[in-house]
Amino acid sequence: MKVIGISFVLLLALMGVAAALDFFGGSPDLNASIRNIFNPFLVMETIEMVIFIFIVLCVFIPPVRQFFQKRNKSKQ
């Protein structure tokens, strides 16, 4: 769980960096910069979408497995 927390914090911070650079690069306002971050994800093919979701979900496999292992152990 900790690992996911770290990754998420880093991702958010980096999105901030990307938006800031976009803003300094001559984008009209901060809103547009934030929208620019997400627009590459707007047009996706179905297969691409499936792979995308799969890849993101894979991040959650180890912590979930760990959680169940811990619970089984505590039961015993």
Partner: protein
């Protein structure tokens, strides 16, 4: 930090592959026109200078990762903040390289394939390597280095033999004086690619013989400087400055122009192989360094657990960075050197070194022993 050991020679190879990485495929230092190669060499000299700063820091704490010793030097909380910023910096650079290579593959070969999928393949490869550890990467590097060396030697031979090289294109070297060349060197080449060697601060403690680090580092930077300069010189010689300036991947155009003996032509695969090898090493190293640093900073017991999640972060970021390739490139030329490279590669390390110097001097030999 994992318990791993790499030899000085492996360090040399990693640095060379890393420096060549994405620098060899782009029109590096083209703002200096015909003097691009000279700007690269000046950049390499500057890179050696920056490397000496890093080396001086490394000498104070030869066995510790920078994430640790920065806390010793400037205090716990500021040290943690600095380490966190560096993790962001490395992840961002990693994402930039991933994007570079994804865009290259799409532009050249896979027009209809989504960027996401191409980036994914590259990132998965890097994640796998990182889970195996730095030693595996170093050994893979040795193998790839041989391939790359063969590619370069034969490519130069073919270009020279093919008669496409026109030395006249390289003149005048200083058409507008030395100023634009020096300016390019100090605004671009010093940081990209040479200053990025900062990432090796995390790798240096692994080297078996710390005494050799200095010589190896300087030698590697000089060698890669010469290779990059000769690539740019060959590009300019074959294509002319104007075409290099308009090309996204001048090396590709140079290699495509080889036509020898009626069958040695369309050697695009040369370019692809070289680019993929360099890109793989660079992405993997940046990602490795960020994973190791993050594991250190957040006290994750097994660093390999972080590899995949951070890989996904890099993957997402590589797509979010910019809406279009021109935007990506413009940010790379105009903003990143000024707002990211300069503070992170030069100013912060220099400040930290200064503090370390003052502290150690104050404590005298006692500090040295620690």
């Amino acid at each position: 930090m994992e318990k791993a050991r790499i030899s000085a020679f492996q360090l040399f190879i990693l640095i060379v592959l890393f420096e060549l990485g994405s620098a060899m495929i782009v029109p590096l230092a083209i703002e200096a026109k015909q003097g691009a190669w000279l700007a690269i060499l000046i950049g390499a000299a500057g890179g050696c200078g920056i490397f000496l700063i890093y080396y001086a820091l490394f000498r104070y704490y030869p066995d510790e990762s920078p994430v640790h010793f920065v806390r010793h030097i400037i205090g716990s909380v500021p040290g943690k903040i600095v380490a966190f910023l560096y993790i962001l910096y490395f992840l961002y650079l990693s994402a930039r390289v991933v994007r570079d290579f994804g865009e290259m593959l799409i532009t050249i070969a896979y027009v209809e394939t989504p960027l996401f999928v191409l980036n994914l393949l590259m990132v998965l490869l890097a994640v796998y390597t990182i889970r195996k550890g730095i030693e595996v990467l170093a050994r893979t590097g040795e193998l790839l280095f041989i391939v790359l060396a063969f590619l370069f030697l034969s490519a130069f031979l073919l270009i020279a033999a093919g008669g496409t090289l026109d030395y006249g294109n390289l003149k005048p070297v200083m058409g507008e004086g030395l100023a634009p060349i020096v300016k390019t060197a100090f605004t671009q080449t010093i940081y990209f690619p040479f200053g990025e060697i900062f990432a090796f601060m995390m790798i240096m403690p692994y080297v078996t013989d710390p005494k050799k680090v200095k010589r190896t580092g300087l030698l590697a930077i000089t060698a890669s400087g010469f290779v990059l300069a000769s690539i740019m010189a060959a590009n300019t010689g074959v294509l002319g400055v104007e075409l290099v300036n308009r090309s996204l991947f001048p090396l590709l155009a140079t290699i495509q122009s080889i036509e020898l003996a009626d069958f040695l032509e369309r050697l695009d695969v040369y370019f692809m192989l070289a680019a993929i090898i360099g890109g793989f090493v660079k992405i993997t190293l940046f990602l490795y360094v960020s994973v190791a640093a993050a594991a250190d900073l957040f006290k994750v017991k097994k660093p390999s657990q972080l590899a995949y999640p951070l890989g996904v972060v890099v993957l997402l970021l590589s797509i979010m960075i910019a809406g279009s390739l021109p935007e990506h490139i413009q940010e790379g030329i105009k903003l990143v050197p000024l707002y990211l490279h300069l503070p992170f590669q030069v100013i912060l390390p220099a400040l930290v070194l200064l503090v370390a110097f003052v502290r150690h001097k104050g404590r005298g030999k006692e500090g040295e022993a620690k």
